[in-house]
Symmetry: C2
Subunit: 368 residues, 2 copies
């Protein structure tokens, strides 16, 4: 795998008539030819949050053709606002503007904006077009690819939503320059995950390039995003609605979602919770004898070097974990299903973890 | 076309891997073999309303196997409750019960229950199974077939929703015996509509059998339901997501939705508004010279014989109509699209009605 000085890359997510491109480049926001080819009609609503609006909203709107009716909506920033009430605000704005079935929604922001705008688009007049313009590393490598949209519920994360594919994903890596270091690390959690579940060579490349990634070196970060999106796109193309292999993308997420829900959405970043969740999944894989001590040590090291936490919250008991994990969408009937590591670069879904082993892991796992 | 003494009929809606059967018979609710073949797993939630619950809820639940976990939820009865807030109550109940992705929702009731439960199923954990058990004529011949689900918004009917197909539709025509006469007529509006848009012979058959239909004669009503569902199923199979021919099913609905929204949902029944809407569409078709005076007279007579209103609300101005009609989902960009009659049994979608002709129709149309 080689990194080039050119940051420009294009991938294709292959889903038959729902296929779409992912364009990666510097300076895409504001380029006149970036959004226009993907508009469904003459009505466009750009939805963003209070953090992103002052940085990119005017620039993006100015890039749209003069004959397009452009509206904007600015929502509060944070996972705690990813609710059906905030999606309803999008619907209200669309109806107040008299927008019809051929309108296009543009999601300008991180995963929260992308998930909410995608679900708003899936349900408005039973489905309209939308375009993802993800501005965080996490959303660029994960939530903007694959068509999972939705909102949280007090009893569980992403419990309400739809599978709904965008018309295009535009990744402007310049937007990462304004991203706080903590959120950059949170995004790297998902990048590292792709190495763990599917690609040992990519994991090695990440170990070599971690400093350049944390410095947002354009060609290195573009390569990491492209490689991550390609792995995700391949898996999504195999299994769009998560009947099988797509569940592997949930490595670290069963533990991680439990942490996020227990701590209150927005207190732990999603990627931070996934970082700890992957450390827990690797530790459990070691305790089941699936990976050896050296693999576990390497796993924990790469998570830590990405700037992510390894330890679980001090105020979270084993029962707190189990209560939340029982609500996980992967579970079938009463069985708890976990994504575990056969080795580095090879994950699997298992519902056969003995409860005693899981209980021991949760009881003994380090807290802070 | 002959009516038999046997009310039992089965149709198939052909949508590839989303295909499903429509079973029509007397006494289906409570029959042990009716629901069970279509359950996705061991968790079932039956959702109904306060009117239907005392009549059929226990009977339906008792027909489910002992090893199934059955929950029930009773919502208030009426179009004014078809809101995102009431769909949220379904999601709350599912999460409180710990229901997973392999649960099955059963919609026991009329179109309001069917639309809300279908949308709740489409969005719960990004999509779970549901079964329609429609108990009104309107829902048996219309809303339970074709996968349109959703809720109303203060600014427009069915503005929020999804295309989501049931696993099966079970039509128990015994449930029509408890249906008020006014709601029976409202259901006949859609039955008559199928004759208008696609099948002149069926329209003649309806004219001959209208008294038996209003008396709920089992074999006659079963035949009318089966024929209606078949026409709708054929159209839906051609055009599942309403890109073309499916729009014909909206005959009378552009005017009708405007009446319902203006009068407040629940005051005019949907079928009543569609009855007047079809009378208005027929009158406009006559004024455009597409049908002659005799065809118009025959159209108005069959609507009236079904027990439906021909006149528009006295308190509704032409501008009230136009304001609502501009929000119609069929419209593309700024053009108003209407379903009109080429002749009886042959409808078309047109965006070419001169505004002056439409304005004259609205100004001159009888009110009461």
């Amino acid at each position: 795998m080689t990194a080039t000085v050119d940051a420009r890359r294009t991938l294709h997510v292959d889903l038959g008539e729902r296929s779409y491109p992912i364009h990666i480049d510097t300076g895409l926001i504001g380029r006149a030819d970036a959004l226009t080819p993907y508009l469904a009609g003459q009505q466009v609503m750009v939805i963003t949050n209070e953090t992103i609006a002052p940085l990119y909203l005017d620039k993006l709107c100015a890039s749209l053709p003069d004959d397009v009716e452009v509206r904007t909506l600015v929502l509060p920033d944070g996972e705690q606002y990813k609710t059906i009430e905030h999606v309803s605000r999008i619907w209200d704005a669309l109806l107040e503007a008299g927008f019809n079935r051929r309108c296009t929604l543009v999601a300008l922001g991180g995963g929260v904006i992308g998930d909410m705008v995608g679900y708003a688009a899936a349900s408005y007049q039973r489905g309209v077009a939308f375009i993802q313009v993800p501005t965080t590393l996490l959303s660029q490598v994960d939530s903007s690819v694959g068509g999972k949209t939705g909102v949280n519920h007090p009893l569980g994360k992403n419990m309400i939503g739809a599978f709904w594919q965008p018309k295009a994903v535009l990744v402007d890596i310049e937007s990462l320059k304004s991203l706080p270091r903590r959120e950059l690390s949170a995004g790297l959690a998902e990048v590292v995950k792709y190495g763990f579940i599917r690609d040992e060579a990519f994991l090695s490349w990440l170990e070599t390039n971690m400093s350049a990634l944390l410095d947002v070196t354009p060609d290195v970060i573009a390569e990491a995003i492209a490689r991550s999106c390609q792995i995700k796109a391949d898996i999504v193309a195999e299994d769009e609605t998560e009947q099988g292999v797509r569940a592997l993308l949930n490595l670290g997420h069963t533990f991680g979602h439990a942490i996020e829900a227990h701590q209150g959405y927005g207190n732990w970043l999603h990627g931070e919770a996934v970082g700890t969740g992957m450390a827990m999944a690797a530790t459990l894989s070691k305790q089941l004898g699936w990976i050896d001590e050296a693999m576990l040590a390497r796993s924990l090291a790469v998570i830590e070097r990405a700037g992510l936490p390894l330890t679980a919250p001090a105020n979270m008991s084993s029962e707190d974990f189990l209560t939340r994990m029982r609500l996980d969408k992967k579970n079938i009937d009463a069985k708890l299903r976990l994504v575990l590591l056969n080795s580095l670069g090879d994950a699997c879904v298992s519902d056969a973890t003995p409860m005693s082993v899981l209980q021991a892991l949760l009881d003994d796992y380090p807290r802070r």
